[in-house]
């Protein structure tokens, strides 16, 4: 896209893009009546093989055994999936319980309780864990860890040490090379919602396509090489979705948010490559990995080859910088079942556990894979993002092998009017905020 200016034409910068979403597509999977035990087995096998390879560098002198092979008093290492027994976790059986109190069945946002305990499970059996090392408030059901300890007289496992998978291997790429190129992240546009101001989104589109501002602003906009929309782009009124037959007026109300989004997306796609990911509120499937939004929803934008509909989670490489991120369901679920000081801590934990969504399929909807677990992180990304959070938050974490990852929490645009700009050269982030109220 070119912009007229006094010094000549401004050219938008470009970056090489490669999609890595193939592992999240489920077109080739067939459902044959399998249950979730299959994906748990695949996950355990995958991560146990990987943890066994780390054991020689961690504690080479200790033997490893299965849960069934535990002997009382003998120190050993066991590897298995954690299960957290939570007192307050909502259960579908509560609906059928005899004593029904007047209060609603599912209330608290966070289901932690001081009585929660952890259990380690593998194919042969399960054992309750004791010891202050593994805090039940930090771990969730579905993480695979290696534990060092011994069986007590009571049949529990007394913990002495824990080994998490740690950050995966990262391909070395020198930072601070090349020129400034920016990636813009935005999420929670909520087009069609009564609380979102359409002017803010229009301002955003105009700014990044270079239609606003003078030479300096257009110069900045010309450095944007990619836009990533991380979920919840539309909001369809709940009143229309209660299963009743819709009249023709209501039917057009149902499709208006998507049509409005398509118009704005085609404005973006005309100038910049844009990736759109489905979120919780979008017209996509419920279970993770969410499949790409269908092209027929975007008749205007899909005509451009810069428009890409992507899966959630989404992984891609831009100029050899690896990106990985979700629209927020995995982190929000972690926030319900575990505790941390900020969302970035959840992000870091999922990376160190090498699993994007450990609570799937326990409390997070998931497709029942039989022979693989696509949420297992094989290669360490350079940028790990999550959408639809309350505020913009970012940090850098380092791994034991020299891995460096930039963590980004993308705020909801409809509430904050803020998008995130990330510089590919040095992975630094800053906010791009749009407002329409001025105190003067």
């Amino acid at each position: 896209m070119e912009v007229d200016s006094e010094n000549g034409l401004l050219q938008r910068k470009q970056a090489t893009y490669q999609s890595l979403d193939e592992t999240f597509l489920i077109a080739k999977e067939t459902y044959k009546g399998q249950q979730y035990s299959q994906i748990y087995f695949a996950r355990l096998h995958l991560m146990r093989t990987m943890l066994y390879s780390l054991l020689p560098t961690w504690k080479p002198h200790l033997p490893s055994c299965t849960v069934l092979g535990l002997e009382q008093g003998k120190e050993c290492i066991i590897v298995g999936t954690l299960y957290k027994h939570m007192k307050l976790k909502p259960s579908v059986l509560d609906e059928y319980s005899k004593e029904r109190s007047a209060s609603p069945l599912v209330q608290p946002r966070n289901f932690l309780h001081s009585d929660d305990y952890l259990v380690l499970e593998d194919e042969s059996g399960r054992v309750k864990l004791r010891g202050a090392l593994l805090l039940p408030s930090v771990y969730v059901t579905g993480t695979v860890v290696a534990l060092h300890g011994k069986e007590t007289g009571a049949g529990d496992f007394e913990l002495e040490d824990v080994l998490e998978a740690g950050l995966p291997h990262q391909i070395d790429r020198p930072l601070n090379s090349g020129e400034d190129k920016f990636v813009v992240f935005v999420s929670g546009l909520s087009v069609g919602s009564t609380s979102a101001n359409p002017l803010h989104f229009q301002l955003f589109v105009d700014h990044i396509t270079g239609h606003l501002g003078g030479e300096k602003e257009q110069g900045m906009a010309a450095q944007i090489v990619q836009v990533v929309i991380a979920g919840n782009s539309v909001e369809i009124g709940r009143g229309l979705l209660n299963g009743q037959n819709l009249g023709s007026r209501d039917q057009s109300k149902l499709s208006e948010p998507i049509k409005e989004l398509d118009i704005l997306m085609s404005q973006i796609a005309a100038g910049i490559p844009v990736d759109i990911m489905p979120g919780e509120a979008d017209p996509a499937n419920f279970a993770l990995p969410q499949q790409p939004l269908h092209r027929c929803l975007f008749p205007g934008s899909a005509a451009f080859n810069t428009f890409r509909s992507c899966t959630n989670p989404h992984s891609f490489e831009l100029d050899d910088v690896r990106f990985l991120g979700t629209s927020g369901q995995n982190i929000d679920d972690l926030a319900k079942y575990s505790d941390a000081t900020c969302k970035l801590e959840f992000l870091e934990r999922t990376l160190r556990w090498r699993h994007i969504a450990p609570t799937a399929p326990n409390t997070l909807g998931c497709y029942p894979f039989t022979d693989r677990d696509p949420f297992f992180i094989e290669m360490c990304p350079r940028v790990y993002f999550v959408g639809n959070q309350e505020k913009l938050d970012t940090s850098v974490i380092k791994g034991s092998d020299g891995q460096v990852v930039r963590l980004v929490c993308i705020p909801k645009f409809a509430e904050t009017g803020t998008a995130v700009m990330l510089n590919l050269r040095n992975l630094e982030c800053h906010a791009l905020t749009f407002g329409s109220q001025f105190d003067s």
Binding site: K32, Q34, Q35, Q38, F41, H45, T49, T66, P368, T370
Partner: protein, 113 residues
């Protein structure tokens, strides 16, 4: 409660093969032997050939072996291929039975659980 009822229902006999459940084996396989319901005994003779012969016995042992993961919801050939892909070295005999001799694809519990 349910397990004691089932144990009384099915007669179990040890196979006589040594090492059916060795400690050195990483997998703990439960091979319980057949499975003859008293209701099917007609005229005091045991109806052993119902749908179940030696080949099926091998396949059922494969189904029950925990090292290869859960068997419900997958057919036996897929489970064998998954075990192969994971590097668990499933017995080649099972593959032969499923591919060459066209033995029963469905697992032991198919339709029953």
């Amino acid at each position: 409660m349910a397990s004691t009822g089932v144990k009384g229902f099915f007669r179990e006999k040890k196979k006589g093969k040594p090492g059916a459940a060795k400690k050195s084996n990483k997998s703990a396989s439960c091979g319980s032997d057949v499975v003859q319901s008293p209701a099917l005994i007609s005229h005091a003779t045991l109806d052993l050939q119902e749908e179940y012969d030696e080949k099926e016995e091998v396949l059922r042992q494969f189904d029950m072996n925990m090292a290869y993961g859960p068997c419900i919801g997958m057919n036996r050939l897929e489970r064998w291929e998954r075990a192969n892909k994971f590097g668990l070295n499933p017995p080649a005999q099972v593959e032969n039975l499923l591919r060459m001799e066209k033995a029963n694809y469905l697992c032991l519990w198919d339709g029953r659980a």
